[in-house]
Amino acid sequence: MLFKFLKSSDVKTCEITPEKTYMNRRIFMQDSARIGAGAASLAAFGGGLIGASPAMAAGRKLENITRSGRYDTDERQTSYKAVTSYNNFYEFGTGKEDPARYAHRLNVRPWTVKVDGHVDHPGDYDLDDLIRPHALEERIYRMRCVEAWSMVIPWVGIPLSDMIKRLSPTSKAKYIRFETLVDKKQMPGQKRRVIDWPYAEGLRMDEAMNPLTLMAVGLYGETLPNQNGAPLRLVVPWKYGFKGIKSIVRISFVSRKPNTSWQGLAAHEYGFYANVNPAVDHPRWTQANERRIGEFRRRDTLMFNGYGDEVAHMYAGMNLKKYY
């Protein structure tokens, strides 16, 4: 049913696409060409103003993207350059600019994702086989990093729920676990054991099935730049950014709550749920406010990053101070 609905809206979407894509290209080009003083507004402060890097050469343009707009924010989108040059992706180094500098070493084609656990259709899937049966959607989400900065990013991907339905987990599957590639040659940051590689993340099954949860393959209408987690990453907009595991090579359906990398590193600071919550501080800094990249003053952080209507019901009755 859902599939049909998306198909029927295809025609409308195609009419919109060229203009939107054009706008996106324009934003991108503005960013990459050194912006003249007059051209950018003050909101571009620090936005797209960073030196170019090889990995930033934009990806392939994605075709047939549907845009329902249903979950989109209309806030100003963070510049392409900021989104692709200010990243936490420790597999390429712990500096914010390391991923953009080194991620070109990652070879994203061909890309195989292992699906295992309590599921009817386990196996090694080529990325295309996982994605192509579904319609690509654009989702303009807020992204709130646990470090108290945030961005607005136009992702392209498929709802994780669509993928899960097709893989058909059994009733034993209560959680879903994701794993990132381990390869010191392609990911130089893994030469040091900053994290107990592979990076691992997980969601409760209802969180994974939530319509907001996205398996992203692109941003700004193009395939993901490597530093943003190409070719396949998770986007969970009501959770802190570190839940959005990048360059996924394994998806496991499991019955018990999986351990996550950040829990392994500092369980008292980074919980399994990691829902954005201004009332629960990180032990070392406040989570009550955040700096939107490109803005000067801090702004208040919203409960569930502003997605309470869609997700709050999943945590009804839970003590969110305990399950942070």
Binding site: I35, A37, L49, I50, Y86, T94, V194, R284, R291, I293
Partner: protein
Amino acid sequence: MRIFLHILAISPALWLMWQGGLLYDFQDNMLTANPIKYIHHYTGEWAIRFLLLGLAITPLRQIIKWPNIIKYRRMIGLYAFFYVVLHLLNFVVLDYYFDWATILKEIIKRPAITFGMAAAVLLLPLALTSTKGWIRRLGKKWRRLHRVIYVIAPLAVIHNFMMVKADLFVPFIHLTILILLLGYRLAPKLGFSYTRG
């Protein structure tokens, strides 16, 4: 020599101003997409480097037999203070924009910030009493007062350790240098003699 050292010591700040100017003019710069955080790390990093460099003077003059190097210690200490001031200005003005309520709460609530602030506050009297007049006026007390640096430097390094999210590589380097420098001073007191090699 002195002018050369001044140029060397001030150049990180000049670089920062240059990059800030580029940013203000919407041009390409090195301050990343989150310049305030970058400035914070950058100024804190240089403050610690100068603190450790100041502590290295005494061992250096003994090891490389260059006693005159002591002439530059005050200058190095004052540059440490200078970068601490930039660090604090960034914290108060750019990061929290004079939101004193939040700033105070953060200082009290977060041990990492408490330690950092304590180090900064303790450094202030040392900077103020660094003039010839104060050295004369305080006499023997001056030496005792300036031993507070042995508290300040560890506080700063601990602060650095606690603020880092995951990658402790740089704080470890700072800690190693600090331990070597303090150990050099402690060793004779524990009966170890440098002269016998």
